[in-house]
Symmetry: C2
Subunit: 192 residues, 2 copies
């Protein structure tokens, strides 16, 4: 697995990077395999060797999104200090950052799920992602001493989803601000 390397990273990396950029901007369905090939400077056979079906590439894309978003969420929480109750609010800074980022288009999972068949692997992966994030928030809520950690986590992830969903239209930072204030209110009420 070492060596080989073409110009910028391995072929696989170039494919994934290009797919990430194009899929997020136009949605997986809005991007043809030929476009990914052209923009990543890769041969068609190479792409189909690494990802036998387009769906495989889409799932790999979602895994990347999962890593990036969940990572940003945890980093934002960590930066908010040591108190779990502050971290629960601080994670919304990740939403604010995302809104301000150029080319922001909302939640990649929701966007992709919206254009994928109902029982398919994309939906399964999306549910998994949402479940993992909510479990993490639940643990944080438990550490903070919430009476009903599951409920608080559900409420906060609901806010996150709402903020992300609205992002498909515009990345108005006002949305992130409203979400953060809501989170503060809900956390305070839950820990009263």
């Amino acid at each position: 697995m070492p060596a080989h390397r073409t110009p910028a990273g391995s072929a696989r990396d170039r494919i994934l990077e290009t797919a990430f950029r194009l899929f997020y901007a136009h949605g997986p369905r809005g991007v043809g395999v030929d476009t990914v090939i052209a923009e990543s400077g890769v041969a068609k056979a190479t792409l189909y060797k690494h990802f036998p079906r387009k769906d495989d590439l889409v799932l790999a894309y979602l895994d990347r999104v999962d890593q990036a978003w969940f990572g940003a969420l945890r980093a934002a929480a960590r930066d908010a200090g040591d108190e779990p109750r502050d971290q629960l609010v601080g994670m919304f800074d990740a939403l604010a950052s995302a809104c301000r980022r150029d080319g922001y288009h909302g939640c990649a999972f929701i966007n992709t799920a919206a254009e994928s068949p109902a029982g398919g692997p994309v939906h399964a992966r999306t549910v998994e992602h949402k479940t993992v994030v909510r479990a993490w928030v639940t643990e944080l809520a438990r550490q903070a001493g919430a009476a009903d950690p599951e409920l608080l986590a559900r409420q906060l992830t609901l806010l996150l989803d709402g903020g992300l969903a609205g992002g498909v239209l515009d990345g108005d930072p006002v949305i992130a601000d409203a979400a953060r204030r809501s989170a503060r209110t809900l956390v305070d009420a839950a820990l009263r």
Copy 2:
């Protein structure tokens, strides 16, 4: 404009009804014009006479969704009593009802916007819809005596969006319940 009538309603109505059903279930992009034609029992030329482009049909579909959803929201608010502060919470019953409805797939606007090009008419219509709903909520918040009606409206519509967005995956009523509780907490805090 009277008479004519084929089996069930005018051709236009049949087209719209079929498009509504199919578009909501699979997303406009996942449904070919030929499918709409086959299932509505209409001639291709007839469809293209009423809706010269597929986009026109998609926009008409969104208008229908707007009427239905906004109507359900207002009805739920009305059913919650005469007090604006109760109506602000009561409108979340529309979300609960939607979650329980068979074939529920989340917010048609967000789902459609997710698969449409960024600057296009679909996005414009979606923004318009969200703006109208939020304006209505803002007025309700003002009547309830909120210090910052715009903020409260933003927070509540954020919850609505979050609840709807999650619906793409599953229509878990727990989500609607969490949203309703959040709304109660936020409204109480804003009117303290």
